[in-house]
Assembly symmetry: C2
Homo-oligomer: 348 residues x 2
Amino acid sequence: MVEETASAALTLKDIAREAGVSLATVDRVLHNRPGVRPDTVRRVQETIARNAFQPHVAAAELARGRARRFAFVMPTGANPFMLQIQAYLGEMSAWLSARRLAVEMVITDVFDPSVLAASLEELAGSEYDGVAVVALDHPSVRAAINDIVDRGIKVVTLVSDVPSSRRHHYVGIDNIAAGRTAGALVGRLVGQRSGKIAIIAGSQGLRDHAERIFGFNQVMASEFSHLDILPLLEGRDEDDRSQQLISRLLGKHPDIIGLYNVGAGTQGVATALTEAGRDKQIVFIAHDLTAMTRRLLLQGTLDVAISQNPGHEARAAVRVLLSLARNEPILSEQEKIRIDILMRDNLP
Amino acid sequence: MVEETASAALTLKDIAREAGVSLATVDRVLHNRPGVRPDTVRRVQETIARNAFQPHVAAAELARGRARRFAFVMPTGANPFMLQIQAYLGEMSAWLSARRLAVEMVITDVFDPSVLAASLEELAGSEYDGVAVVALDHPSVRAAINDIVDRGIKVVTLVSDVPSSRRHHYVGIDNIAAGRTAGALVGRLVGQRSGKIAIIAGSQGLRDHAERIFGFNQVMASEFSHLDILPLLEGRDEDDRSQQLISRLLGKHPDIIGLYNVGAGTQGVATALTEAGRDKQIVFIAHDLTAMTRRLLLQGTLDVAISQNPGHEARAAVRVLLSLARNEPILSEQEKIRIDILMRDNLP
DNA sequence: CTCAAAATGAGTTGCGCACCTCAAAACGCC
DNA sequence: GGCGTTTTGAGGTGCGCAACTCATTTTGAG
């Protein structure tokens, strides 16, 4: 029992013949070039639709000649998650060059709106076909993104979104949902016990951290109101500072049963927990899968790591930019980034 | 600060010149065609490697002429998970036809080794470039797969593997790890409580079910030995039968605190739980994300759904077959199927 | 050295499309 | 009806490679 799923192999010539026009006109319609009567445009488009015609991507790509260039605007510094994204882009290099795609890194201080905006404005005047940017949500950044879009360059925001801009796509997770997931897990894993829940973030000023905290508190308030949430600590994503803050907190509150680390500095938090000898009694949830969090999961110090797959984000950003540049539909289901719940037994 | 990641745009002609041979010889080397001295082969390959040369896939695809044909051997019946995979393949139809790829469904009884083997043998003599098969692990199936491979057709096993065959790739999850994940979650979510844990499967004869049960028991024995595991029930993946079995079990054991459904029939199990009024007290874990399990998660009847992403499996199978057919390297990190832990707050 | 077999060079064709030019036809306006 | 403008047709070129043919050179065995 065999079923057909794919169709014939029409070419532009067939479409031209069937629509009663020349190849040149079909080409004009296909690329929105001027000089075609609206009536004729419609006739050609109908013929294309009627036959479910798809231009042969390989032929189109070959005929284009020049390679496509994409820029990835990434933060300076040693943020492991960002470095992982860059590493996965590196792993794609054979894949990219076989398709004559060039991906270039633009490293800049994405946390300073004016610096980021300036970097983006520079790209607006360049020869890039697409830009992926880890964007801070700020009016001047938004304006810079819109400028790039107006130049006909495709833009996707990566990891961190600027929803008010006219960017074509966002590749990343819903951080409110991530925070809610953390809250639900803490609440469920502490079980019947009652006690206090600690929460530490890098800074409330970071949009993704703020969103996670919001989601976390939402769930705690609505579903686990019997638990006592301690005031938020800010560890600035640094191991040392996080360790000190948590050590002091553990000393002050012997009845902490759950701990959520919103940002980085997980190693510091874990050290504080083990030094206090309370890593097994306290439910500890953090973000991102690194060599370090993997180790902590296997040891049992960390109970759950909530993560977004950096490899998936890197590849999705490239694919989305490519599809946009080709005016191809995007497989949205494929490009959606999931909130991964990682425990010891489902580590990839 | 800009860093280059991709390289030049050499062509075969450049390679030929640099290696001091003709285009024809490079072509022979590239496609393992006979008639080239080993010494020359080496020289050409070294030139290719030295320049990190990648043939332009678009040009290669275009020059090939004929389209590639892939067959998907899928089970008969209304298994929702399998239907989802087929649905996602359908969603790819525009993507496929733009690449002149034809994907055809071969629906057969994959649970009968002789029927499946016969279907596969038929494919061995056909014009397919690749075959994806939901394979039962049985000697005659293994032999059939090896036959197909010997014909030069690429084979990937889908969802269910035949590790002893010479299939080129497996697209699916590690079911032992999935079972262990279920065990860890049941154990963690019941918390301090003590009581009995129920487990129901379709049949122990199904390899994936058996593996999940194995993993589940492994974790329960080593980490949650204080919990009492009830004997396995077999619901044949049917809602009615599962409901009856669970209803009876709930009547007999008032102290059940956890329940793991290994296979299908989740609706039946859920009905039994709610009718007994114990859906909130019992930790309930099942597999796969469907409209039904999504509803149960939102209601709170189901606590966790463990799933493998059917869309990802469909696309990965196609991509892997395509890469194999093109003799391209596979992005293994991309094609790996993860064990997803889905709760109410991280539903996609 | 001779001869057949193996290895190689040189060349052609065509895949389907993008992108271009130039001439011809159709059109709208006065 | 004449005019300029818009629309269309016809055609060409080349992208990089696969796949082929056929002539020529090199090689090794006897």
